[in-house]
């Protein structure tokens, strides 16, 4: 095939703008979609075509598969880019797109399905020779759970087999506590996921969250774009990400990237994807999950590699090979990304929808801002709280942080509470700057 000539961007906000820009740079037309709340939004203005797909709640617009397919049909789009969130990791949507004769700018439905199930993904990683956190098979009764926990060694985490997004996880430090927690964990899993199956996993002390960015094409090429450190989190939500991961031994860096590539090859992966790992204090790494989509934090990998990930996604979807080989890639400098959210860190990160009355973006060398917003826009209560992503690159990590400090001083948002003041404190924090930190470090700071 010659590749898509017109891409339906089945998303909103900054990622919609990002995809439209990549389409235009590739000489491809873009079709935007919008809900009632997003009628006058920036991505609607940037695209060649725009289609109204429904009411403001996402369930009535951005999650409406039929409305999206109809938007593609009516505008004669030949491909669909799902972005992240919404339907991006929904294998039924991927299949519906393909069944409608459209190209999905993403992985095959089978890969989305395989990696979407926690237990299957774990088993698949093991089969690919990728280490997983020591754990048990599904347990149904207490005796089996206690026997498994004795074998793994306390502390353990009781996890729901059907779980995801950090939900349904209970830490346990003794056999007595396990007896207390297991029935409640099973009931919670049954209630939340319709499946009470639990399993146990060793609780790693102070782990880091490190993930590897991948690209894979139809020609047997699988490449990694180095790793990112996403350990600065609150309630398992990432707030600050950087690439490359600080303080990782070269050998660990090499082995973790090789493991991610091995898994992608094992599952016949295609397009952009990310393999997430937990890394312990001894730099042993364990598979956590695979994200079968472009991610929020992809720009830090772009900054250190010089690769336009969305442009590569479009190439791959067109059946072309990735535009570079692994050995061509050089990791240059360091980059950090700060998520600027409409949340009030001083009030328990309470959401803060409303009108953005002032919006002055920072600039300067190595400074990039990805946003779907302009001054006077309303931050809608219907979607997530992200206002913008500030990405700063430097010749080294110290310069990246210094540029971020400077950029945050310039970045002015008025009308809604936001996380800029928190980020200003974070990028000046000695512990973070000397790095690395672990996944509960930020929560300990906030206490």
């Amino acid at each position: 095939m010659t590749g898509p000539g017109r891409v339906l961007v089945a998303n909103r906000g900054e990622i919609a703008v990002r995809i439209i820009r990549a389409c235009h740079a590739a000489g491809v037309e873009a079709v935007a979609v919008y809900s009632d709340a997003d009628k006058n939004s920036r991505w609607v203005q940037l695209a060649e075509h725009a289609v109204h797909i429904g009411a403001s709640p996402a369930s009535k617009s951005y999650l409406d598969v039929e409305a999206l397919l109809e938007a593609a049909r009516s505008t004669h789009a030949d491909a669909v880019h799902p972005g992240y969130g919404f339907l991006s990791e929904n294998s039924r949507f991927a299949k519906a797109v393909q069944d409608a004769g459209l190209v999905l700018v993403g992985p095959p439905a089978s890969a989305i399905e395989l990696m979407g199930d926690k237990a299957t993904a774990r088993a698949t990683a093991q089969a690919a020779g990728v280490p997983v956190v020591p754990g048990s098979a599904p347990v149904t009764d207490l005796a089996a759970a206690q026997a498994a926990a004795d074998e793994i060694g306390y502390p353990v985490l009781v996890k729901a087999a059907a779980g995801g997004g950090g939900r349904g996880i209970r830490p346990v430090s003794s056999a007595a506590e396990l007896a207390e927690v297991l029935p409640a964990a099973q009931a919670e899993a049954r209630s939340a996921f319709g499946d009470g199956t639990s399993y146990l996993e060793r609780a790693l002390p102070r782990p880091r969250h490190i993930e590897v960015q991948l690209l894979a094409d139809d020609h047997g090429n699988v490449v990694h774009l180095f790793e990112r450190d996403c350990s600065v989190q609150r309630r398992r939500q990432k707030l600050l990400e950087e690439a490359p991961a600080p303080g990782l031994h070269d050998e660990t860096r090499r082995r973790i990237s090789e493991a991610a590539v091995r898994l992608a090859r094992h599952v016949g992966y295609r397009n952009a994807g990310t393999v997430e790992f937990l890394v312990d204090e001894d730099q042993c790494f364990y598979f956590m999950e695979m994200n079968t989509r472009i991610q929020v934090e992809h720009p830090v990998s772009e900054a250190i590699s010089g690769v336009d990930l969305v442009a590569e996604q479009l190439r791959i979807a067109a059946g072309k090979p990735i535009s570079f080989a692994q050995e061509d890639l050089v990791c240059k400098g360091a980059a950090i990304e700060l998520r600027i959210n409409a949340e009030d860190p001083d009030r328990g990160f309470a959401p803060s929808p409303g009108e953005v009355t002032s919006f002055d973006l920072p600039g300067g060398p190595g400074v990039r801002v990805d946003t779907g917003l302009t001054r006077g826009d309303r931050i809608s209560p219907f979607y997530d709280s992200m206002i913008a992503k500030l990405i700063c690159w430097g010749a080294d990590r110290d310069q990246a942080y210094s540029r971020a400090e400077q950029a945050l001083r310039e970045f002015r948002i008025e009308g809604v509470a936001n996380t800029i003041p928190l980020h200003a404190r974070l990028v000046g924090n000695d512990k973070l700057r000397s790095g690395p930190v672990h996944t509960t470090w930020l929560e300990e700071q906030l206490e």
Partner: protein, 79 residues
Amino acid sequence: MSTVNATLPGVFYRRPSPEQDPFVEVGAAVQEGQTIALIEVMKTFSEVKAEQAGTIGRFLLDEGDEVEAGQGVVEVVSP
């Protein structure tokens, strides 16, 4: 009779999750402080609670409807 109003704009839900039963049905007795609905604002869920004991008269919104801050969501009939 009293009307419980939304304190936040967002999306109104009568169920804790799509697969589960509603928190309460019309005609059911509720206690003061009992959760009767959820409002989702920016992917964060806030509980709508009964301000006094009584019986659920009627819901003024359907599952998944948009709601404005201050808008009535449910009528509670006093005992």
